[in-house]
């Protein structure tokens, strides 16, 4: 019997794995969601099997297993893609639309900001827009100025829309499942092309990670590192290094960037009285600024040192390797920033 026929997506085998990577986490979450709720629809450029199952192959086999009605490749028409998701969501479906790379949301901002985010409010709560936009981005792979941006701060600044950035494959899977199956709000789910092949522990089937709750990934007492996404992995390494030097670092992973879990942040900083905020997006007017501003407002007299930010530099993403390296946040800067608070 043909394996492709019985398990076109390969998830049966994947589901048994003890470790999975970020790409596989998305595949598993999408598959479990599709199986659980037939209102879940997938569409985006090239993602059906006729087109090879997506440029990152995350949805390979899905159109074969779930059919062409529920899984569709689209033309290069991001406004139509997001708009179709908005309409389908209002009509009671749970569309998961893919915007191949995050810079391409720039052609679909109207649908996301003026419509997806606001329709529930403007209708006085009569209609919901439970859609998920999966998109990918990230610097470090030489994709240059128009294919690498982290734009989550724009969405965070918009009431009515949620932003999720996972920092481990298990979180990616659990958060994506929650976003698709449990949310009534539009969710932007940001994957990182640089870590698609990065492995981590596989969570049990159908395990959801709720949105809106931060995760204290590592407990510590001297300083809080608060962030999300890829830099959390570096933060854990830096924390190890500092542990060896006698400094106890707490690492708080927001998981949901907006609306973020201020309570957990404040609890951590109230304890450590020092904080460093980290993210991959450029520093100026980034998500980190809001976190800093909120902390200082609430814990002003508890703080022992200025809150530092570690983020990418304020320029377009350069192509040339050494410039791209210099553009990105790095572990050394994190180390320095943490040290500076002590």
């Amino acid at each position: 019997m043909n394996v492709e026929r019985t398990d076109p997506t390969g998830v049966t085998k994947l589901a048994a794995a003890e470790r999975i990577n970020f790409a596989q986490a998305s595949t598993l979450a999408l598959h479990e969601a599709m199986r659980t709720d037939d209102r879940v629809l997938l569409f985006g450029e090239d993602l059906a099997d006729r087109e090879g199952g997506g440029v990152f192959k995350i949805t390979k086999g899905f159109s074969t297993e779930f059919g062409d009605l529920r899984v569709r490749s689209t033309p290069i028409s991001e406004q139509a893609i997001v708009g179709a998701a908005v309409g389908a969501a209002i009509a009671g479906m749970r569309p998961v639309a893919e915007i191949m790379l995050m810079n391409f949301v720039t052609v679909a901002m109207d649908q996301l900001i003026n419509h997806a985010a606001k329709i529930r409010y403007m209708s006085g709560g009569q209609t919901n827009v439970p859609l998920v936009i999966r998109t990918a981005t990230g610097a470090g792979a030489g994709t240059g100025g128009q294919h690498s941006d982290m734009l989550e701060a724009w969405f965070a600044h918009t009431a009515g829309i949620k932003v999720v950035v996972p920092s481990s494959p298990a979180d990616a899977k659990g958060l994506l499942l929650s976003a698709i199956l449990d949310e009534e709000d539009p969710v932007i789910f940001i994957e990182n092309t640089r870590t698609y092949r990065t492995m981590g522990a596989a969570p049990p089937p159908m395990l959801r990670v709720p949105l809106g709750k931060a995760n204290v990934v590592r407990e510590g007492t001297d300083v809080s590192v608060i962030g999300y996404g890829r830099p959390i992995m570096d933060a854990l390494l830096v924390a190890d290094r500092l542990q060896a030097e006698g400094v106890s670092v707490e690492v708080v992973d927001l998981r949901t960037v907006a609306p973020f879990d201020l309570e957990t942040i404040l609890a951590s900083v109230a304890k450590t009285r020092r904080a460093v905020v980290v993210h991959e997006a450029v520093r100026n007017f980034g998500v980190g600024a809001e976190i800093v501003a909120s902390i200082q407002e609430e814990l002003f007299s508890d703080l022992k040192a200025p809150i530092r930010r570690v983020a990418s530099k304020f320029s377009p993403v350069p192509y040339s390797k050494p410039l791209e390296e210099a553009f990105m946040w790095n572990a050394e800067e994190m180390y320095g920033a943490i040290r500076s608070t002590l």
Binding site: L41, L69, R70, R72, T74, P75, S77, E78, Q79, A80, V82, G83, A84, A85, V86, G87, A88, A89, I90, A91, G92, M93, P95, V107, D110, Q111, N114, H115, I119, R120, Y121, M122, S123, G124, G125, Q126, T127, N128, P130, A159, G160, K162, S178, L181, D182, E183, E184, D185, R208, P210, L211, G212, P259
Partner: protein, 339 residues
Amino acid sequence: MNPIVEEDERPSEAGAELGPEFFRTVYRKFWLIHRCDERFRAVITSGRASLIYYPVRGQELLAAAMGAVLRKDDYIVTTYRGLHDQLAKGVPIDRLWAEFLGRLDGTCKGKGGPMHITHPETGVMVTTGIVGSGLPIALGLALASQVRGDGRVTVVSFGDGASNIGAFHESLNMASLWKLPVVFFCQNNTYAEHTAYANGTSCAHVVDRAAGYAMRGVRVDGNDPAAMAGAAWAAVEWARAGKGPTLLEADTFRFKGHTIGSSSDYVPKDAIAAAEKVDPLATFRPWMIAKGYATDDQLGLIEGEIEAELDHAVEYGFASPFPPVEELLTDVHGQGVSQ
């Protein structure tokens, strides 16, 4: 009519369905739209209410005809200039008045306002203030119907000016590829704000663009009750039968400027004079009687009923309280299991 429509697809003036009763329904909707539009303009001009209003004077008939063709559970998406579409689809007039006035009993608790009327019970799913943005959303509503096989049709209204924005193009292409049950209803009132049709749109008629999407395209005189109803009926049935989308362009005119209070100096006098000659407000009533679809008395009765409904609606709207301040921060997010 556009050559892309074959002869046998053109509806007869009536179709079985489009008889006297049907046109009495159209007339009722037509008159309701007309009087409601007039009364909005009156409360605003008199200073009793202050709001930005996009008059629909001139476009009553085409919306009434479309509304009469649609089922209650069909979906529509419309724009800031959407009063006619909303009323034709059946939105309760009193709640609509309350919404225009920003009151708690409005369709959207006063939070949306005139540019964002939503009333899912009557299929009014989205009203948008962004030119062209209803079209992509209509794709999704139609997609949901296609997946569920629920037989619903989605009609999205937009203006001639909207045919020049990117969202129009992407939507027609995708709808054609996916054979979605949607009608792209272009109400060509010859102006986009202050820009005359030909100064913004490079083709002679919006419907000329249908060929670029291998889509059924139909242009109709939106002032001709039979032609308009027939074209609406055919486009909706075409979609309902699973044959795909239609670009339906209805010629009409915008008599009262872009918004209430804005001048129309830029509109040539002779264009106005020409439009007045074919204005359904002058022609539709006599046509109903001449056709034998209704007597003068019957129409008078309808008109009287509508006046009473409107009296009630206006009163209801003004009597409704403003939403309490706590409403500011509700409905921003849904509950969701995650929360």
